[in-house]
């Protein structure tokens, strides 16, 4: 780069004054000083966060005028409640299904787009549109389309006017479908960027050696792409564990508790039933799940990155 030399501070031609030397202790302090505002904000956000964790150990609810410390009572209560375990089950099914489907479709779409056909190049420009719409608005639109009588889906697919997309037994799959609609492009553009950044030489070498396309995909491309896929998987899995927006607007957790994910359960406990402590217990447990999953997935990612970079574990 040749254009990056700093301009002279003054145009008069006099050499700039030499800066006063900065003492070493101040230099060492510099990154901390720069981070102070951010740390203050962090504290401002951590305070309610810690308070929320603390609520899980109180009997805090709108009907309790003076909440007291109750130890692990909430946890015992919640963990022995089948409704909570139903929520865990719904959340797990939702997160695993959505992540797997989105990853498979996203990688497939990325591979197809990488061919750069005319269709692909046009499509690439609008690929991200569903991703950039608010999930709650996506939920609203799909809700209008799911409507059995007036919705367009039953009409277009010829399902009559009684097929209920959000009925018992189907609702969970329908909200997963909406998740897939929104977030598959996320996986696709990440993986596509990954494919395009791969070095060409290994592929040329194996093409010279007469390797089949599938062999190259399996043995070269997939291992080299794996870190990119994993980044997408981590984001998608963590986010679907705490899904709320489009599920809430589509079903509000129903019918029954068929789509009552953990965050919707916490919402019902805290905001609808005004039992803050029970809601916070849900969130504390969900936070623990998210935290442990994140640590595991990040360690997997680290290994994959080292492998893709060529060093053996």
């Amino acid at each position: 780069m040749t254009t990056t030399a700093p301009p002279r501070p003054s145009g008069t031609g006099t050499p700039p004054r030499a800066p006063r030397p900065v003492p070493g202790w101040r230099r060492g302090l510099r990154p901390y000083l720069l981070s102070i505002p951010a740390v203050l904000i962090i504290v401002g956000i951590l305070y309610p966060f810690v308070l929320g964790a603390y609520y899980a150990f109180l009997n805090y609810a709108a009907v309790v005028p003076r909440p007291v410390f109750v130890g692990l009572t909430n946890f015992v209560e919640v963990l022995s409640d089948p409704v909570f375990w139903a929520s865990v089950r719904v959340t797990a099914i939702y997160a695993v299904t959505a992540t797997v489907v989105e990853t498979v479709l996203g990688v497939g779409i990325a591979l197809l787009l990488n061919r750069s056909s005319l269709v692909g190049r046009i499509f690439e420009r609008v690929l991200i549109l569903p991703l950039m719409i608010a999930p709650v608005i996506a939920g609203v639109i799909w809700g209008l389309m799911f409507n059995p009588q007036f919705g367009v889906l039953n009409h277009v697919l010829g399902l009559g006017s009684t097929f209920d997309w959000l009925g018992e037994g189907r609702a969970l799959w329908s909200v997963v479908l909406v998740d897939v609609w929104i977030f598959t492009p996320f996986v696709a553009i990440l993986v596509l960027a990954g494919i395009r950044s791969l070095p060409k030489e290994p592929f040329e070498a194996s093409a010279v050696d007469g390797a089949s396309w599938f062999y190259m995909f399996r043995r070269l491309m997939l291992p080299m792409m794996w870190p990119y896929i994993l980044v997408a998987v981590i984001f998608r899995f963590m986010d679907s564990l705490k899904v709320f927006d489009h599920v809430y607007v589509l079903t509000a957790g129903g019918p029954g508790d068929a789509t009552r994910t953990l965050q919707i359960g916490a919402y019902q406990n805290s905001i609808v039933n005004l039992n803050y402590s029970q809601g916070s217990t849900y969130m504390f447990l969900l936070w623990a799940i998210v935290f442990l999953t994140a640590r595991y997935l990040v360690s997997v990612l680290g290994k994959a990155q080292r492998r893709a970079a060529g060093s053996e574990e």
């Binding site: 009409h155 950044s197 705490k242 919402y267």
Partner: protein, 289 residues
């Protein structure tokens, strides 16, 4: 025409590529149909919305209703005010995050100091924490401080959305910047601060713009924070749109679609304008495209 160089996995035309295009086309239809449907529904009259699917006479009346007092009467939320609130909240939240986040991102990108990773990962963890864990106590705190249903309250809580994004993306940009550039400036007699302001900052300007705009999109699209932490006076658009769904037994599908379309346009326009930077932004700097 000279044969274009192919990236790994690319192949030249074959009958199979026709099939691949058809598959892509299938996804294309699935992906865009709901958006097309939203536009169609927004252009229908009250009668047409339940009797027609694709053939109808379009009208722009719904947009007028949504943005006027008539819409306010139906939903008890003024949609124009909601748009205004969203703009204030999101611009405010992004500005606060930039002022606070740029120095922190620079410090983390330039130096490995004790605790730097802790600070960065704490910021990142906000992105992945379940929102309700923070909202419930904030609901109590906001009611005590009088921040419930205010724009200031929303700007504060939206830091959870905008800060991690801006700090992490900008850190990756500052890391890419060779330290020699600033050292050259220091040799030329610049102070540290001037070297940062005149050399480092201008060079990461694309990163700042992209991360600010992406943070704006995510702040705009946020739903769960305002759902609980605003009442009816400072409701942003995402909540205002859903108000059209439950209009006292009467269904206003066309109005809902019109409101959804208006609310969806700003993020869509912004996103399309920063497409080059999206991958890096969406992955928090993990994937550098």
């Amino acid at each position: 025409m000279a044969a274009k160089e192919l990236t790994p996995g690319q192949r030249r035309f074959s009958p199979a590529s026709l099939g691949a295009d058809l598959v892509l086309l299938g996804w294309f239809v699935f992906s865009l149909f709901p958006l097309v449907w939203m536009v169609l529904l927004a252009l229908k009259t009250n009668a047409d919305q339940i009797t027609t699917f694709f053939a109808f006479t379009p009208t722009l009346k719904n947009f007028g209703i949504v943005l006027s007092d008539e819409g306010t009467r139906l939903t008890s939320v003024n949609f124009t005010d909601a748009l205004f609130n969203s703009v204030i909240n999101c611009v405010g939240a992004v500005l606060v995050s930039l002022v606070i986040g740029i120095p922190a991102a620079y410090a983390a990108g330039r130096w490995q100091y004790r605790g730097s990773n802790d600070v960065m990962f704490t910021i990142l963890s906000f992105r992945f924490a379940p929102e309700l864990m923070v909202i419930v106590p904030l609901f109590v705190i906001y009611n005590q401080l009088g921040l419930f249903d205010t724009n200031v309250g929303m700007i504060w809580v939206l830091q959870l959305v905008t800060m991690p994004l801006i700090v992490w993306i900008l850190r990756s940009y500052f890391q890419d910047l060779p330290a020699e550039l600033e050292q050259a400036a220091l040799l030329d007699g610049y102070t540290r601060r001037r070297a940062f302001m005149m050399v480092a900052l201008p060079l990461v300007r694309p990163g700042i713009a992209a991360s600010a705009l992406l943070a704006f999109v995510f702040a705009w699209n946020n739903y769960v924070f305002p759902l609980i932490l605003t009442g009816s006076r400072h409701t942003p658009v995402t909540v205002a749109v859903t108000r059209f769904l439950g209009g006292g037994g009467q269904a206003y599908y066309n109005l809902t679609a019109a409101a959804a379309l208006i609310a969806a346009l700003p993020p869509l326009i912004v996103a399309l304008s920063i497409q080059r930077y999206l991958v890096r932004g969406l992955s928090f700097g993990a994937v550098k495209a």
